[in-house]
């Protein structure tokens, strides 16, 4: 299963549409608006999806090292490959955590994977070193089970696994569909997770 780039394209189109309809955009000076449009066109010409770019190699390396140093884990290779395609997103209540860039917090683009896991592991110590949290929504946590090496969906209110996925790409495709409000009821073949609970 590969990451469905057409979903990323659709998310990019949505974000660009939102940008052009936003108060922020309309309050830019004509020069700033032109500069922004030129930069978006330049990003697209370089093969990057406007407003939904992949991470730079140095950001992925830094995040890999930070996960090792601060969380004591190695990030799954599959996830690192996905970061190269999409460095996180937040849409319609669904967030995929991005790489931890070398930026002050106020300039960070959204939730980042090492920071979010430090925060969630602190707040819910029973999940520490059991799950690597990869994203969330108002209903779910999207995670990597560090023991079984499976990509799983946890109920946000119970922390119990409710679905597993065959790959990171399959899970992130599902997150993208939720973000884009694409009905996946018919096509969701995620197997239920066997009886397993988070031990306190």
């Amino acid at each position: 299963m590969h990451l469905k780039t057409e979903l990323l394209r659709e998310l990019s189109d949505l974000f660009v549409g939102d940008l052009r309809a936003s108060q922020y955009y309309h309050q830019l000076s004509p020069e700033d608006r032109t500069t922004l449009e030129n930069r978006l066109a330049g990003d697209a010409a370089r093969g990057s999806r406007p407003l939904v770019p992949g991470a730079l190699p140095e950001d992925i390396e830094r995040t890999e090292q930070a996960a090792h140093d601060e969380l004591g884990i190695d990030l799954p290779t599959e996830l690192l490959d996905i970061f190269a395609e999409v460095d996180g997103f937040s849409e319609n209540g669904v967030s995929l955590y991005g790489t931890d860039q070398d930026l002050p917090d106020e300039q960070t683009y959204g939730p980042t994977i090492v920071a979010e896991n430090l925060s969630l592991w602190s707040a819910m110590p029973e999940t520490a070193e059991k799950y690597l949290f990869i994203g969330d929504s108002d209903l779910w946590y999207f995670a990597f089970d560090l023991e079984s090496k499976q990509f799983v969906v946890l109920s946000r209110s119970t922390l119990e696994p409710v679905h597993s996925f065959g790959s990171a790409a399959e899970m992130i495709n599902d997150m993208l569909m939720q973000a884009l409000r694409i009905n996946s009821e018919e096509g969701n073949a995620s197997p239920p997770v066997p009886n397993k609970t988070v031990n306190g």
């Binding site: 057409e6 659709e10 949505l14 939102d18 940008l19 309809a21 936003s22 108060q23 922020y24 955009y25 930069r39 978006l40 990003d43 370089r46 990057s48 406007p50 407003l51 770019p53 730079l56 140093d69 601060e70 969380l71 004591g72 937040s90 849409e91 319609n92 209540g93 967030s95 931890d100 860039q101 917090d105 106020e106 300039q107 960070t108 683009y109 959204g110 939730p111 980042t112 920071a115 430090l118 925060s119 602190s122 707040a123 819910m124 110590p125 029973e126 520490a128 070193e129 929504s137 108002d138 209903l139 109920s155 209110s157 119970t158 119990e160 884009l180 409000r181 694409i182 009905n183 306190g200």
Partner: protein, 360 residues
Amino acid sequence: MSASKNHPPPPPRQEMIDAVAEAIRDFEKLAPDPEIVGACPQLPGIILDRVLGRPLDRKGEEYQATIKDYDKIREEYFQALVSHPIGRTLALLAVGPDGVKLMEAGRSPSTLTDTTAPPERAVRGRRVNYNCHHIIPKSVAVTGGRAAVNHPSNFVIANTTRRGRDQSQNPHHFWHSLLLHPQTHNAPNAEIPIYVVRPLFPFYPPITQGFKSAEALREHLKNLGAPPLPEAWENRILAFSKTTGHRAYSVPKEFHEITRAFGELYSKANREDSANTAARDALARKVEELSAQWLPGDAYINGRQLGPDHVPKNKLPIVDSNLTAVPETPVPTKTKSNRKRTQTRMTAGPKVGAGTSMKV
């Protein structure tokens, strides 16, 4: 992507419009005295609502159905909330015109604030994001069942913006980690009191800037093309603004510590299994101690009741809202056959105990 829903959705059903109207009335009943908004300055506009519930069987039909129903009504709720005159004005104050536009389209609100990026990097947007959350958790069974849990009276649209390690704009994480998770984690499989965090506004925080007077608030609304709010809501907004020092709300700094604690405890020196287990246990105790500073004696934390002698350090107003009863206007499950109905009105059942009692 033929299945994409990024086209105008059908308008909300009349049942959802009625349910939102009921929710707004419930908000008004919850705190007739605006002073309650500032009763606990660390958590302005927040009360603890004591509900009696038991943890649902997570594999049981009721829990699964609650989740499925919520997923189906979420976008309709957004639409209905901004179609309500008070809901729309409160939305404009909390999430701005861009957020309102997204809600009209059935999407979670967000506001783009910046797109600057150094030349070597691709352009990205920095946004303020909001999520819809249940006040009484979906995993708790209450008297009103799914009708009460998946009702607009039980929803809050909360800021969930995170920028790296900065959780100051993520009050929902704060409520969940400090007050809710410790009560439901390891909870006994019996009916127990659970103190849920109930904001006094359908959006939290309710404002993005301070207002020192009713005139300033009205002027701001006029600029947004919105009518003035009823006096009771005006007073509530002004009380919130006063409590936050007429500045935008941030989660208090001292509570950010909880989000960094693991990093501090889980240092390289603590990597050995035994040390690591001890660090995790220490952290769990730290979270429990902090939670106990807010919760009364009959609350459970990590499966243990605090006890009759327990006196919380911080005084959050406590209510028995009775919003766990069957709502006057329950939202029927959205099915293919009723999805597009907008006019048929559902027969309203009798309201079971709408009264609210409050203790501070």
